[in-house]
Symmetry: C2
Subunit: 141 residues, 2 copies
DNA sequence: TTTTAATGATACCTTTAGGTGTCATTACTG
DNA sequence: CAGTAATGACACCTAAAGGTATCATTAAAA
């Protein structure tokens, strides 16, 4: 019912970096803003790099950047990169294979809300986030 | 994004027992049908007992029964009994306290799908499950 | 060419969810 | 009243998620 911490972190990272996609963000820049433990953030950045969502520049003036054009990355892409759960057709009761001879009533009911959730995640891209969502104003804690 | 195994197990148990709420179900009855590891099921039954969702009868002809009337138990009640996550107003990015000066665009978008999900879970009771959902026909694997 | 500030790699630690194992207790039944 | 089939209690184990520690590498800049 809740995304994993790791997935939420990835969403924070990429949504924040979407604000200015040409900028090079250092791990420290992100740490200051995103409330993610520093070393875990570093690990996570390397992971997103290997997943092809980020590119990095090494050396003193290095940092990270979003790898693709913003409208090519949906929220679902980020979620899928960090969570291998298959959400499509997921059974409300958690059965990996339906044990029933007929579909139960939760099948459709749950299917509806799940699909509207999935639809939101699939259709919202980092470009939408950039235009509408202002994570710019993140205040330091 | 996914309910925990434990929560899914609880939903299976109570939805199944709702089929005939006056019947006394043994752990073995449930084990045969619900694809839950036997000992974990036993543990879970004791837990649901302590949570006040089930009552038990000890001794040779003992078993478990749903504690309240079916329309008094919503799916959300079951979820909340087994998962202490607070879903109301949960931030998409997982911030426990919003660090922004203004609400971001995901706040409302996510709020909508989250609320429709919560609404389904809160309004659907075991009585609805009993009438509409036939977990009766569970086939053994 | 040395220093410095960034990333890269990798191993380890901690907590929690999920799952097991064992034995005690209860109460029906032969 | 002994045997049996159920629940009750509790300790333990395992795997995965989340988090930490350390050192190597890169490249700009003093
Ligand atoms: S019919 Fe019911 S039990 Fe079967 S997959 Fe759908 S939700 Fe799950
Ligand atoms: S405004 Fe955005 S960041 Fe703040 S709580 Fe809402 S979803 Fe989270």
């Amino acid at each position: 019912m809740k995304l994993s911490n790791t997935t939420e972190y990835a969403l924070r990272i990429l949504s924040f970096m979407a604000m200015d996609e040409k900028l090079l963000y250092t791990a420290n820049d992100l740490f200051d803003k995103l409330q993610i433990p520093y070393r875990y953030l570093r690990k996570q950045l390397n992971f997103l790099l290997k997943q092809g969502l980020l590119v990095s520049v090494q050396g003193k003036t290095g940092g990270y950047q979003i790898a693709k054009s913003l409208n090519e990355i949906s929220l679902m892409d980020i979620i899928e990169a960090t969570d291998d759960t298959k959400f499509e057709n997921m059974c409300f009761f958690g059965f990996s294979e339906c044990p029933l001879t007929q579909k139960c009533s939760m099948h459709e009911r749950w299917g509806e809300v799940r699909n509207s959730t999935l639809s939101l995640l699939k259709t919202t891209t980092l470009n939408d986030i950039k235009n509408e969502n202002n994570l710019t104003n993140l205040s330091l804690k």
